[in-house]
Symmetry: C2
Subunit: 129 residues, 2 copies
């Protein structure tokens, strides 16, 4: 059912996400993609992100208290979590995962997935007091 057309807008958005080392918000994606396609609209960014998300090319990253961000599935790889620097506001990918975290669920509950977000100071901001 891939009636998807390979438009340059979509390609540009895909490229922006793939090239980013960290999850980007729709606005950031728009700004970066407009360097390639100045007429790109925010609506198209949202529509394309939804499509990328559904097709599995991009993953939505929800940081509590912040607007949604998106990252490339390719760049992100597999299961991982996120670290939010409260100083520079950057969001980092964390490769590992806490084993046995599902044991936290009450008896009789079934855990299907989980989300872990660490807040603190990144390496660049720890030194800065």
């Amino acid at each position: 059912m891939v009636q998807a057309r390979q438009t340059k807008q979509q390609a540009a958005i895909d490229r922006v996400i793939a090239h980013s080392a960290r999850p980007l918000s729709p606005g950031e994606i728009l700004a970066k993609a407009r360097r390639q396609i100045p007429t790109l609209s925010l609506a198209t960014v949202y529509r394309t992100l939804r499509r990328l998300e559904e097709s599995g090319s991009a993953a939505r990253v929800e940081i509590p208290g912040q607007p949604p961000r998106f990252e490339s599935r390719l760049a992100a790889g597999t299961h991982h979590h996120h670290f939010v620097c409260q100083v520079c506001d950057r969001v980092y990918d964390i490769p590992g995962c806490a084993r046995g975290i599902e044991a936290l669920a009450p008896a009789g509950f079934t855990v299907e997935s989980h989300e872990i977000v660490l807040f603190g100071r990144c390496g660049a901001c720890v030194g800065g007091g």
Copy 2:
């Protein structure tokens, strides 16, 4: 510094949160509090929630992908996390916490706080297939 006036709106909102076993959204809080104060406005709910949050009486619970909810500090007690049932959409408090979770942070990073959300099926929904 406490120039706060003890209004019945604030008291009602506080009561609603304190009596709830799970985090409530601003809209839910408004609906419940209006049973006591029919003229209560949503704006007041937001303003009061902000005050309660600042004073430490209430805590904001951010579930990724969902609007913010609020719970009572008193009811919630201390450090805990949340379980989101993907069937009935309820949010449960989880008493425990994964020890050593801060070790996930990259070297040189400082962790100040963290957020854990489990997704799955609650006890009531596991049986329902």
